[in-house]
Each structure stands twice: as structure tokens, then as C-alpha cells.
């Protein structure tokens, strides 16, 4: 029996052609399931504090990638509450795509209305029908949460929860409710987190005396209880423009931060909306380690490092086959037959490869033995100057490596020392990564930390780049040497005109990963619409197209014209200029011949009549192909398929 009823099928939806399934799901995987409770402060203060969305003055360059900034230009000032809600909404959307098994709850505190299991005042747990309070995100949750701002004041309402004269303690209640939500699931297999978003650094500022002491004590105790149950509490503090969030007033005690840790803990400084959102986004997702690796440096020295997958292609996810009648999943059962005798086989223990007209047999164990080379270890082989790492030395996405002292004390300091040496000497390390499925030679490239106003841009650490072997590199450059006896080189003048074009079309603010994948966005928008039974299919904007406006600017047009003139000369017709028009390849000539022939024959039939009278099926496949060729339709498939295709094309 085989359980693989859900197959990753990147080719069908994402027909890139060269995407092979082995390459798709990388052997490295994320570890455990996560449960998060977003605790969002909804006090009036969250609505009064705003931060401007003003973007640093646009560059005066002729052509600046403005897509990124355009988005923000249209936005007005946003309140802290809006920022929190937007960030959660976008986190939910990412989560439903990437980690839909993780569970999430959204809980507001300092609210007018209450809704929670314990019936506590000032706490409102938001959810939608067909979903528990803490559950996997659903299409409906995302849709309704997207417009929560509109209904918030009516249904939930904002109110100060901790006031002098009452015994109400909304923060305590919120923590209690969150802990209650996180009761399910074993701590062994799940990461439980409470993420508190607030801009109030002194929640008990309004009250005084014994009551205050009492409230603080019970609240801290509540937090400690939760932490002892394995729930981690994190805070995303938002700073008001006039008043920086002071962790040590109260929250440092709640989180158990001390000394140095506290100093490192920076509040999210809310000067620019985009920056603030970026920071929120970064802190919302928990780092997930891929695996711990033993990094052997040689001569008996080895350290421990953790690997992380910071970039991995996101694809539309696995296909689950359903029975179209019931819409329930089907599972596939696989059975093996001997093709010689037709008898049913149990899983065959042996494999074979034909070699020199012989069937060479291997056992499964033998094959894995062949692949086994220093499993589980990363072995340092030596160092090379960075200039020797070429742009074509790449096969798959890189893996990030960061030291850990958890098992081997001292790993971090060795790692930092090596990292700094590599950066200073401009060298990279070559190592052999012995994974069991695909052992590989890798380059370890040192990356220094990059910090900008909006926080960490690149963490310090090493990136493991999978190097190709000679078997994987193709000598394409030499492929056409027969056609180009001597390769022409651009003259200095031509290079100069190219330079001025390059200078004009500068993407000032380009950053890797600024575009979202239009194919994927469309796919998920369609899924969401279908999941919610909406009729209208959403339209997704494609950000990846060139900036037409930018290219139409006179200076760019002139620069490009000049470059064109300098390399192509005047009156150049791009379409017809190939020196070897006579020598077009065999295949394309054949294709042309077929097309010519088809268009000649095409005229001999009255296709519409044939279709109406149902006589298409009486034609031969060759005849049907005349139509398909002329109309530029695919010509593959069985006769029946061809007929259907023609009928569909005619709209019949």
C-alpha cells in the first residue's frame, strides 16, 4: 500500500518544464508544528498613535524602481492598531500557504465586548464559523480578518481595561485566555507562543499603591505559569513617536529579560510605516532550524552549527486527488506485476541497471551504501579566494549556517573567528557536506551582518552554496565555435554607449525578493475565491513587468537609441539579420515545410460544415492536423482529442 496520494506536481501548474520532482521538495524540512496566539492590544491608545507613511524623498534619477515606493505613496498615516492588524493579516496569508498545519488564534484585549472561554472581561477572541478559537487558518478567517477594521468598533470595541477603581486587569485576563487557548497539543511536538503587540509600556500606570503592586504581581505570576508550561511569550512593542517604549518599566520582568538581553531588545521604532511592518513581519515568524550539523575542521577539532533554509522556492503545494463525485480524497494503491509472467509481486527487493547488455543487480542497501559518504558531517577541505567562486557555480538554493553552543561549548567563538578571517581575507571555505540523500561539495561564503534603519537586513553567518561537479557543467560557450570563426568584440565606443545606457536605467532601490510571484499569487487568489464559493475570479497585479513609464522617459529613449545605433548601425532590421539565413536548422525547416503544406491543404476543406455535420471524425489524423497546424493548436493526442480540440476552437 502506498500513502503517497498527494503528489507534488510542479510541472502541471508551474510549467517551467525543467522543474523535476526530485529537485522540488528539498530533503531539508522544518521541524515541528507551531501554535501562536496573537494578543493584540486594542486600547484607545493603539488607535491614537499613528506613524507617517512618508517615504524618503524619491531619487532624482531618470529611472528609479518606484514600484516598491509607489505602494506606500498611496497610503495614509496608519494607527498602531492598523499596523498590527495588517501585519497579522499578511502573516496569516503566508502561513496558509507555507505552513497551514500551524494553528493560530487572534485575541484582542482592552476591548469593550468580551468573548472567551473563561468569560473574562476585556478580552475578545476573534474567529469565524467552522473554526475553533485556536485552529488552522481558513479562507474565511483570512477574508473576515481582512475587513476587521470596518466592523471592529461595532462588534468588539476599544476600551481601557485597567482603570483605577476597578479590579479588572485586562492584561492578566489576556494572558490567562491565551494560556487557555494553548492548552491543547503536547509540548513535545508543538512550539507554543504568545505574541503580544502593544504600544503601552506601563500597563499599570493609571493605578497606584497596593492595588498596583498586587496586579503587577499576579500578572507576572500568570506569565511565569504560562512559561513554565512551555509557552514562550514574546512582545512586539511599538514605540509612540513622542515616547519610546521602555521595556524595563514592566515588560522586562514579564519576559524575564535581564542586563545585556534587555539592552539588545529594541522597540520597533515607528518612524516609517514600511519599516515598522517589515520589522513586525520578521519577528512574527519563528526561526526554524533545518538540522544540526557537525562541522569538522580537521585535526580533531569540530564545532556544532545549525542550518536554516532562508530561501526556498514556494510552489503551489501538493495536489490531493479527490473523487469528483463525492469530492472526498482518494488514495492510490500501487501494485507491482512481473512483466514477463504477469504475476503479482511483493515490493521487489532488487534493482537493476542495464550495462554492457547485461542486467546488473543491486540491492536497495547497496545503492544507499554507494551514496553514503561521511553522512551527517560537514568536512572542511580548505579555503580559496572569493574570485574563484564563479557565477555559474550554483545548482540549488543556498542554506544558511549559524553556530550553536548548545551541544558544543566554544563553537560560536571558533565560528566567529573563522567568519571574520574569511571576510577580511576575502576567502570562502570549501567543504564536503555528507547528507545521506545527496552528498555534495559546497562553498561556505561568509556574510557580515548588514543593518539598516529598519533593522537587520542580512544576518551574519555563512551561506552554504552547492557547487556543481564537472559532470554538471556544460561547455556551452564552445558550442558554436564552428559558426563563429572569430568572435567579434565590441569596440570602446560601443562599450561607452552601452555604459551610458546602463547608467540611465538604474534600479536604485532594487532589493532581492521585492517582487511577489504573480503566478503563485494568482493561484492562491483563485483558491481563496473557490474556497469561499465566490463567483468572480480575482485579478492579480503583475509587478514584474518593466516600468513602461520609466522606459519612455526621453533621456532613456535617447540613450537606448544611441546604443542601438552604435552596435547595429543605421537601417538595421532585427528580424531578418542573420548571417546564416540559408542554414536554418533542420528542425525549423521541417516545421516550416509542414506549415506550408498544411496551409495549402487547409483551404480544401470546409471545416465549419464538417464540424456541424459531425464529419470531422471521418477525416484522417493527418487531415485533422492541417487545421491544427494552421490555427497553431497543439497537434498531439489521440484522434478523439484532436476532434474535440477543433470543435472547442470553433466554439462548437
Amino acid at each position: 500500500m502506498d500513502w503517497s496520494d498527494s503528489e507534488v506536481d510542479p510541472d502541471e501548474i508551474f510549467g517551467d518544464g525543467d522543474e523535476d520532482p526530485e529537485n522540488g521538495p528539498y530533503p531539508e524540512r522544518d521541524a515541528t508544528k507551531e501554535m501562536v496566539v496573537y494578543l493584540v492590544d486594542a486600547s484607545p491608545r493603539m488607535f491614537s498613535a499613528t506613524c507617517s507613511s512618508e517615504v524618503g524623498s524619491l531619487d532624482t534619477q531618470d529611472y528609479v524602481s518606484t514600484k516598491h515606493s509607489k505602494m506606500t505613496e498611496n497610503q495614509k498615516d496608519a494607527t498602531h492598531f492598523e499596523i498590527a492588524v495588517h501585519s497579522i493579516a499578511s502573516a496569516l496569508k503566508t502561513q496558509i500557504i507555507n505552513r497551514s498545519y500551524d494553528e493560530v488564534a487572534i485575541c484582542f484585549f482592552n476591548t469593550r465586548e468580551k468573548k472567551n472561554l473563561q468569560d473574562l472581561n476585556g478580552v475578545y477572541v476573534f474567529t469565524v464559523p467552522d473554526r475553533e478559537d485556536l485552529d488552522r487558518p481558513t479562507a474565511r478567517l483570512i477574508k473576515e480578518f481582512d475587513c476587521i477594521e470596518d466592523s471592529f468598533s461595532k462588534n468588539i470595541g476599544s476600551a481601557y481595561g485597567i482603570l483605577s477603581g476597578t479590579r479588572d486587569n485586562s492584561l492578566y485576563n489576556a494572558l490567562w485566555a491565551a494560556q487557555g487557548l494553548l492548552r491543547k497539543g503536547s509540548i513535545k511536538t508543538t512550539d507554543k507562543r504568545i505574541l503580544l503587540i502593544t504600544n503601552e509600556d506601563d500597563p499599570f500606570g493609571n493605578i497606584k499603591g497596593v492595588t498596583k503592586m498586587d496586579m503587577m504581581r499576579t500578572t507576572l505570576q500568570r506569565a511565569k505559569d504560562a512559561q513554565e508550561l512551555g509557552i514562550s511569550i514574546e512582545i512586539l512593542p511599538l514605540s509612540r513617536p513622542d515616547n519610546e517604549f521602555n521595556m524595563s518599566t514592566f515588560y522586562a520582568d514579564l519576559l524575564g529579560l535581564e542586563g545585556k538581553d534587555l539592552a539588545d531588545f529594541k522597540a520597533l521604532v515607528g518612524e516609517r510605516l514600511e519599516d515598522m511592518k517589515n520589522q513586525l513581519r520578521k519577528r512574527m515568524f519563528r526561526k526554524r532550524k533545518v538540522r544540526r550539523i557537525n562541522f569538522i575542521l580537521g585535526n580533531g577539532i569540530s564545532i556544532e552549527v545549525d542550518s536554516y533554509a532562508l530561501v526556498r522556492p514556494t510552489n503551489p503545494g501538493a495536489i490531493t486527488w479527490l473523487d469528483s463525485v463525492t469530492n472526498l480524497p482518494v488514495k492510490s494503491e500501487r501494485s507491482f506485476f512481473c512483466s514477463d509472467t504477469g504475476s503479482l509481486l511483493q515490493e521487489s527487493p532488487q534493482l537493476f541497471q542495464t550495462y554492457k547488455n547485461q542486467n546488473i543487480l543491486f540491492s536497495v542497501d547497496e545503492i544507499s551504501e554507494i551514496k553514503r559518504t561521511s553522512v551527517g558531517h560537514l568536512r572542511l577541505l580548505g579555503f580559496k579566494p572569493l574570485s574563484l567562486l564563479k557565477d555559474y557555480h550554483n545548482l540549488r538554493p543556498s542554506t544558511f549556517v549559524f553556530p550553536s553552543d548548545e551541544e558544543m561549548i566554544g563553537s560560536t567563538s571558533i565560528f566567529i573567528a573563522l567568519l571574520r578571517s574569511m571576510l577580511r581575507l576575502k576567502r570562502f571555505a570549501v567543504a564536503f557536506n555528507g547528507s545521506s540523500s545527496n552528498p555534495h561539495l559546497v562553498a561556505l561564503v561568509a556574510q557580515d551582518e548588514i543593518v539598516s534603519a529598519s533593522g537587520q537586513v542580512e544576518p551574519a553567518g555563512m551561506h552554504m552554496i552547492y557547487l556543481p561537479y564537472s559532470d554538471d557543467i556544460r561547455p556551452i560557450e564552445e558550442l558554436h565555435t564552428d559558426k563563429n570563426p572569430v568572435a567579434p568584440r565590441a569596440t570602446d565606443d560601443q562599450i561607452k554607449s552601452a555604459s551610458s545606457f546602463v547608467k540611465r536605467v538604474e534600479l536604485k532601490e532594487f532589493s532581492v525578493g521585492q517582487f511577489s510571484n504573480p503566478g503563485l499569487q494568482r493561484h492562491y487568489a483563485v483558491l481563496q475565491a473557490l474556497a469561499l464559493d465566490e463567483d468572480e475570479m480575482p485579478d492579480v497585479k503583475d509587478d514584474t513587468l518593466p516600468d513602461e513609464e520609466g522606459f519612455a522617459r526621453p533621456k532613456i529613449v535617447t540613450a537606448l537609441e544611441e546604443f542601438k545605433l552604435s552596435v547595429y548601425g543605421e537601417n538595421y532590421n532585427e528580424e531578418n539579420d542573420t548571417m546564416d539565413t540559408g542554414k536554418t536548422s533542420e528542425a525549423s525547416r521541417k516545421r516550416k515545410l509542414i506549415a506550408d503544406h498544411a496551409s495549402k491543404e487547409y483551404a480544401n476543406y470546409n471545416w465549419s460544415d464538417l464540424a456541424d455535420s459531425g464529419q470531422l471524425k471521418d477525416l484522417t489524423v493527418a487531415e485533422l492536423k492541417y487545421y491544427l497546424n494552421v490555427e497553431k493548436l497543439p497537434v498531439t493526442g489521440k484522434k478523439e482529442a484532436l476532434v474535440t480540440r477543433i470543435l472547442t476552437h470553433m466554439g462548437k
Binding site: M1, D264, V311, N394, G410, Y469, V505, V512, S516, F551
Partner: protein, 596 residues
């Protein structure tokens, strides 16, 4: 490989003869690759002969389609010999649009493409040995069954694709999907240029393509050349948007980096690397190294030792061949497989050959280089201290914050302790110095194996020493074995041991007296398999157990388990598992599931 057999006196000079041969080769479309092996010590060879050979061979490469590669080691020689010649096909032929007014005709090829380990066919031995025409192949037949009602077969054409969206599975027919799909036009468009430093190396996503100007198209070659050289000079790269084929349902954003040709025969070109989309990047925050406590920061002396190591362990020393150059480094796994094929073709029962010494140069550090730098390593080791974390208990493998128990907090790694550890191991004070064997360390100095334990706490020994699962406390033994860190094989061993234990408990049970224990073991095994990411091990075992109990008429044990709700590990609990969450329980309802 050497141009010897050229006779002097008859048909002109050697040079003329080579020219004639080269012309003939070009006329016949022959290509030649010369791999010239230069051992490091060939000083006593005749310099004159070598130079003449080089000269004659270089004539070939100038006059005909041949190329020369110099190699200095056996490993590089293996790498230079191409095992399989692939005739490349273009990924794209068409316009590279620089803007609305200008296009360059380009062809795009794959520059790198991972050569996969061959997929072997399944072998069937059912055919009678006398049947000479037997294919021995295995046919696979798929049958689809409803999850609700496993007896009902669903014909393949009645299936419909469903995509997960959160907990929902959304059915979409192919036609429906096709109608709403994103369908960009086939094109390659320039978005703009940016500084090369803006695109960090770690963002290259896939194998690499090569953009060349349309062969034979002089104007296109010039345009690419001008652009590539301008970009190189200015240290810029181009960001492009590509749709390789009509009907492709996604776009690719990538970076073009100039690849300037070093000889007159090949035109300039661009390397193309795919860049990630916003969805592909996971922005995790990591602590800054500069904010770490001083104990974790290297001091000046340590930094110096690291500098020396990075400098001296040099794979590309001046005047010598660059070691492990990707273009000259073969895939050791593939070569080992080919070697095994050859051996087995001669002797079907031959055992697998070990990894060849030449190939070990790829997977292991070069002993020569290490010996040469023995002093550097000694110094490095003297400066740093690495030791196992003594506080790490078996349970803390999944981090639940443990309170530091103050007193045994290790002194922040001072160099002196480490030095002692190496040179006078017996004196090292680990509290219970007995756990320490000096011989061990001495051996390890020569051996670059993985096990480096500088210290071991005596009282931890007992926990680490569990080697098999006993009768008294199977669950505890199992957990102890799983947490052994000295060898990854313990996990596998523990799991297998536990399986045997469960079977034997069930087998030897009298009126179900062992069932409780067996169930506890099974629960522990399940937990262990989730933690160790081995869900398949557990799931397969559960099937086996099911089958076994049916065979041995132990259905009451199955009933016992059923009541206690033991389920398969679902993909929600462990991503490796192929069992969807919704069907983890149905195995119990069946009489005889087949086991793979």
C-alpha cells in the same frame, strides 16, 4: 593524448603537418579535447619535448575546434574526462528586450544542470531462468480507492485535482484551472541594472543558464559584448524578467552577470541566475555577533590563529593547480556507481568497491595539506576550547528552558584549560577525571574522524552507555538510547530494538498481561519517531504489527490499541510522513493491509 607519431622528414615541418591535420579536422567537423597531465615533479623530463608538444597542441586549438585542459592531479584528470556528452538544447530563442525600441537576438542554454544518480529499474525474478527473452521488468499498476470506503474503486478519469488551502481541499478541474491560470507572454525583458554588490551570492536559486547572442549574428554578438563589457567595467548586473515558453504559467526574475570571453573564438555572454520572489525569502532574525558576551567572542590571539588557518589551508596556492575546481572535480558518488557497475558486470556477486583514493580527495581533506599545516592546526586548537555541554540532558534535546544550576556553570573558555586538555589530558579536571582516557586523545590527533570529545562528565556516562533495551525499563532505555549523541546510528538502533521489544512483549503475553507495557512502548516509539523525524519507521511498523497480530490471532491486542487510539503519524506531526491527518486511524478497520 600526445601528438607524437608525427614524422619529421617527409611532409614538411611538424608545424605544417599539424596545420594540415587541423584543417582536415575542421572540414570534417571533428572536435578534439586535449587533456594534458602535468605531474608536479616532472623536472627531469625533457623540457624541450614538453614545450614542443605544447606548441603543436596549441596549434590545434587555434586552427580547429579543439581545446586544451591542463591537469595536475589524478582527481582533476577524472573530472576533465566527460563521462557523458549531452547535446544541449536551448531553453529560449528569441528577443532580449532592452526597451521598447531595441532587442537583441539571444539563445539561452543551461550552463549547469545536476547530473542525477540514475534511477534503477525494479527487478523481477519470476521469469524462468531458461527464458532468454525475459525483460525482468516490473510493471506498476495504480488503483484509486475512496478514503471513506476503501472497497470502492474510483476510476482514474473520475479523479479531480484538489489543492490545500488551510484545512480545506479545494477541487479544481484541469479546465477550470487552465481558464484562470496566469499566462504571461513568452519574452525576456530588461527591468534595469543594479550594483553587483546588491545581489548577494546566496540568493542564486537554481542551476545556471547562459545567455549567448544568436550564433552567427554578428550584430547581436556585438551588442551583447558591448553590454557585458560595460557592465563589467561599471560593476553592474542586469535584472531581467523571463518567460521561456509560450504557455508557461509563471515568470522568472533573474540576474544577468557578464561572462567575458578569454579567447578569440568564443563570444562574450551572460550568466543567468534565478532570484527569489518575496514568497521564497524567509526573513529570520539572528543575534548580532557583536552583541554576544565576550566569552563567545574570539580574542585577538584566537583571531590570529583563525587568520592563519584560513590563509594556510589554501586550496589555490600560487603556481599550482587550484584543487577541487568544480570544472575538474567529478561526482564521487556517480563514479563509484559506475565503478560498481563495471565490477558487477564481471562478477555479479562482487562486493561494492570502497570509495577510490582519488575520489576521497573530494570528500575528505587532503592529508598532505593537513600535515603541512600541522603547526597551524596545533596553534588553532591551543587557542580555542570546544567541549561538550555537560548540562545537556537527554530531555533537553527539545529545548525546554532549563534553569542553570549555578555551581557547575563552566568557566568561560580560557585558553589555558584547553591547552591542558590537549597536552596533559590526564590532568584535566572534569570533576571526575576517570571518564577520561588519555590514549583516546593521542589517537585522535592523527585521525580526523568525527568524534571529538574533549571531556566527558563521569556521572553522565551511565546515561550514555545504554546500548540495548532491557526488560525492566524499556521506555527509559529507549529514550536514553535516542539521546546518545556519540553516534547517529543509535537512533536507528534504538528504534529497531524497540520494535523487537514490542513484538516480543505481545508474543509472550499471557492473557494480555504484557499489553499495557507493549502499549507504553508503542507510545514511546511513536513519540521517538516523531522527534527523530522517522515517521515512516513507525507507520510501517504499525502495519507490520497489525498484520502480525492478525496472523497470530492476537486481535485482542489490536482491539486494546484501538481503544487507546494509537494512530499513524500524520504529516501534520512529522512532515516526512506521507499520511494525511484525516486518515491516520483507518488502518485498524481493515483485515489485512499489505505491507511494503
Amino acid at each position: 593524448m600526445r601528438a607524437t607519431r608525427i614524422k619529421d622528414p617527409y611532409e614538411g615541418t611538424k608545424e605544417d603537418q599539424v596545420n594540415t591535420i587541423a584543417m582536415q579536422m575542421t572540414a570534417h567537423g571533428m572536435k578534439m579535447e586535449c587533456i594534458i597531465f602535468r605531474a608536479k615533479q616532472d623536472c627531469d623530463l625533457d623540457k624541450g619535448v614538453m614545450e614542443e608538444n605544447d606548441f603543436l597542441l596549441s596549434l590545434f586549438s587555434n586552427k580547429s575546434s579543439s581545446k586544451m585542459v591542463y591537469v595536475e592531479s589524478a582527481t582533476s584528470l577524472l573530472g576533465a574526462l566527460r563521462t557523458r556528452n549531452i547535446s544541449p538544447v536551448t531553453t529560449y530563442r528569441g528577443d532580449f528586450e532592452l526597451g521598447p525600441q531595441m532587442r537583441i537576438k539571444v539563445w539561452v542554454y543551461k550552463k549547469t544542470s545536476e547530473e542525477k544518480f540514475p534511477t534503477l529499474k525494479k527487478y523481477s525474478n519470476k521469469a524462468p531462468p531458461t527464458d532468454k527473452f525475459a525483460t525482468h521488468e516490473v510493471k506498476v499498476d495504480y488503483e484509486y480507492k475512496s478514503v471513506e470506503d476503501p472497497k470502492r474503486v474510483v476510476p482514474p478519469e473520475q479523479r479531480i485535482k484538489g489543492y490545500r488551502y488551510g484545512p480545506q481541499v479545494v477541487p479544481i478541474s484541469s479546465a477550470e484551472l487552465d481558464a484562470v491560470k496566469f499566462k504571461p507572454e513568452k519574452s525576456v525583458k530588461l527591468l534595469g541594472f543594479t550594483s553587483a554588490s546588491n545581489i548577494m551570492r546566496q540568493y542564486y536559486m537554481k542551476d545556471v543558464n547562459l545567455f549567448i547572442a544568436e550564433p552567427g549574428n554578428t550584430k547581436a554578438i556585438l551588442a551583447i559584448s558591448a553590454l557585458a563589457r560595460a557592465m563589467k567595467e561599471m560593476n553592474k548586473v542586469a535584472i531581467v524578467r523571463c518567460v521561456w515558453r509560450q504557455g508557461q504559467t509563471n515568470v522568472v526574475i533573474g540576474v544577468l552577470t557578464p561572462n567575458l570571453s578569454e579567447n578569440d573564438k568564443t563570444p562574450d555572454s551572460f550568466y543567468f541566475n534565478v532570484l527569489p520572489f518575496a514568497e521564497d525569502v524567509r526573513e529570520f532574525q539572528f543575534p548580532s555577533f557583536s552583541n554576544l558576551p565576550p566569552s563567545k567572542q574570539p580574542n585577538e590571539q584566537q583571531q590570529e590563529a583563525a587568520d592563519k588557518l584560513v590563509q594556510m589551508l589554501d586550496l589555490a596556492p600560487a603556481g599550482k593547480e587550484e584543487a577541487l575546481q568544480p570544472d575538474l572535480t567529478p561526482n564521487p558518488v556517480l563514479l563509484r556507481f559506475y565503478h560498481s557497475l563495471e565490477m558487477k558486470s564481471k562478477d555479479p556477486i562482487a562486493t561494492l568497491p570502497p570509495l577510490d583514493a582519488t575520489l576521497k580527495r573530494i570528500t575528505e581533506p587532503d592529508a598532505g595539506l593537513l600535515n603541512q599545516n600541522g603547526v597551524v592546526f596545533e596553534e588553532f586548537r591551543r587557542c580555542f576550547e570546544v567541549k561538550e555541554n555537560p548540562k545537556l540532558k537527554k530531555s533537553s534535546r527539545r529545548i525546554i528552558e532549563e534553569k542553570p544550576s549555578g555551581s557547575d556553570k563552566e568557566g568561560e573558555g580560557t585558553g589555558a584549560v584547553a591547552m591542558d586538555a590537549i597536552e596533559y589530558p590526564s590532568k584535566v579536571d572534569t570533576g571526575k577525571g576517570d571518564g577520561y582516557e588519555s590514549k583516546d586523545i593521542v589517537d585522535k590527533q592523527g585521525d580526523y574522524s568525527s568524534k571529538v570529545t574533549f571531556k566527558k562528565e563521569g556521572d553522565d556516562e551511565s546515561k550514555f552507555k545504554v546500548e540495548k533495551i532491557g526488560d525492566d525499563n524499556p521506555v527509559q532505555d529507549f529514550e536514553a538510547m535516542l539521546s546518545r549523541r556519540d553516534n547517529p546510528e543509535w537512533v536507528e538502533k534504538a528504534i529497531n530494538n524497540m520494535k523487537q521489544k514490542i513484538i516480543s512483549l505481545v508474543e509472550n503475553s499471557f492473557q494480555g498481561d504484557n499489553y499495557l507495557k507493549a502499549w507504553e512502548c508503542l507510545v514511546a516509539l511513536r513519540k521517538g519517531c516523531i522527534m527523530e523525524q522517522e515517521p515512516t519507521q513507525f507507520n510501517k511498523f504499525l502495519y507490520k504489527l497489525d498484520k502480525y497480530c492478525h496472523e497470530k490471532q492476537l486481535d485482542d491486542f489490536l482491539e486494546y490499541l484501538y481503544q487507546r487510539d494509537v494512530t499513524l503519524i500524520s504529516s501534520a506531526e512529522a512532515p516526512e510522513s506521507k499520511v494525511p491527518e484525516c486518515i491516520t486511524r483507518i488502518w485498524m478497520g481493515k483485515k489485512e493491509p499489505k505491507v511494503e
